[in-house]
């Protein structure tokens, strides 16, 4: 039986970089079913000069996805350039694959995280507060920090409730120049599939399905839920950051200028959420941060 090499190129976070990731996924999917005499899949990093956290979370999640399909995937140790080796050691990627590899913390990295189930909500909150939004990276009042963390936690909660990902959720981040990035990915059903099945509108374009999913009050669950992206979206726009979501063939990009929903030709079996915040010299706080006296009835 032979090993199948999967070449990992330089991957940042432009549209074509995300397409590279989805092509890697497709190559693996295609080979899973058609070629039975593959011993292992091997990541070959010899052409990779830079790798961003979206790729790290994605590639590690793919490893777990393959393991759940009883296939092995590993990496060619000699293929790692020094810079890439150092980065993958620092965010825990190598240590998670091979515990003999040293885990070296590095200041600008947000560690790779694996959550198989919802039971770790307090740990996820700590991760988001202390690793992704430490106080020396971006000037936020405690209330703003808490509000962002609460909203991003809802992304995890939604993924656990809706995605039915057989392998859980993977996150990774990094501070690159003056931007903080966080990628959260699951390999579950994807939002468009959930929405089109719920609404019984199987011809609905993925872009429309995503738009429906992110409207306040909409949910595919029986309970009263669905408050959309709310504050996170508002903050990203104010901060001149970006919020990008890939799910199935659906894609949405939200920034200060626009919210653009599209249906792409590439397909992701799951959902990838990518948040970019700008580290500028502003101090972000709410206009009113105290506990107010209610001017009108609450109900």
């Amino acid at each position: 039986m032979a090993d199948l090499k999967i070449e990992i190129p330089t991957i940042k976070d432009t549209q074509s970089d995300f397409n590279k990731l989805f092509k890697i996924y497709q190559k693996i999917e295609d080979n899973l079913s058609s070629i039975k005499n593959i011993n292992r899949f091997l990541y070959d990093f010899s052409h990779c000069r830079t790798i961003y956290p979206n790729a790290i979370a994605f590639l590690f999640g793919l490893i777990q996805y393959l393991k759940s399909n009883k296939k092995e995937i590993f990496y060619i140790k000699g293929s790692l350039k020094k810079k890439i080796q150092s980065q993958l050691a620092a965010n825990g990627f190598l240590n998670k694959l091979d515990s003999s590899e040293e885990y070296l913390e590095k200041e600008t990295l947000v560690p790779l995280r694996e959550d198989r189930d919802i039971g770790n909500e307090n740990l996820i909150i700590d991760y988001l507060q202390n690793n992704w939004l430490p106080k020396n990276w971006i000037n936020l009042s405690d209330l703003v920090r808490h509000a962002i963390v609460g909203k991003v936690w809802e992304i995890y909660d939604n993924a656990f409730s809706h995605a039915f990902s057989p392998i859980g959720i993977y996150s990774c981040g990094q501070k690159i120049d003056n931007k903080i990035k966080l990628a959260i990915i699951d390999f579950g059903r994807g939002i468009p599939l959930n929405v089109t099945e719920y609404l019984k509108k199987h011809q609905m374009p993925s872009s429309e399905a995503l738009k429906w999913a992110f409207m306040d009050g909409n949910t595919t669950k029986k309970e009263n839920r669905g408050l959309g992206l709310g504050f996170l979206k508002s903050f990203v726009k104010l901060n001149k950051g970006e919020l990008e979501i890939f799910s199935g063939t659906g894609h949405v990009k939200i920034n200060e200028k626009a919210e653009r929903f599209t249906t792409k030709k590439t397909f992701l079996h799951g959902t990838l959420i990518y948040i970019t915040l700008m580290c500028d010299d502003k101090y972000y706080h709410f206009t009113h941060e105290t506990s107010p006296v209610l001017a009108k009835p609450l109900f």
Binding site: E121, D142, G150
Partner: protein, 116 residues
């Protein structure tokens, strides 16, 4: 009745399950007309699944007017109060939705028939 939410949930009020625990603590008092005060001091992180279950769900069986008279919220910052207001607004629509009401009515009828 005063309920200190931090003593039940800790500093994170984020999950559906936490919301259910709080709901189960306050509902019996509210349904019989008692006053309930919810104190959110020391709680830091909030998420809508918690608010949906703990407070939004009260609208299923208790009117807005009664809740305004009986339920007091303390030490919740303006931004979190805004989130709670949105949850309440959504909950009002959800629990007044005829489809939902139809499902509830059918369930009640089924239970009634099975009890005869």
């Amino acid at each position: 009745m005063l309920i200190k939410i931090f003593e039940i949930t800790g500093k994170n009020c984020i999950t559906l399950e936490q919301g259910k625990i709080v709901y189960d603590s306050i509902y019996p008092f509210l349904i019989k007309g008692d006053l309930v005060e919810m104190d959110f001091s020391k709680v830091e992180i909030f998420a809508s699944p918690f608010f949906n279950q703990a407070i939004g769900r009260l609208l299923e069986n208790i009117s807005s007017d009664d809740l305004n008279k009986q339920l007091k919220i303390k030490n919740l910052s303006a931004p979190n109060l805004a989130t709670l207001s949105k949850v309440i607004e959504n909950s009002k629509k959800y629990y007044s939705n005829p489809k939902h009401r139809k499902a509830v009515d059918k369930t009640i009828n089924d239970i009634s028939q099975n009890s005869i």
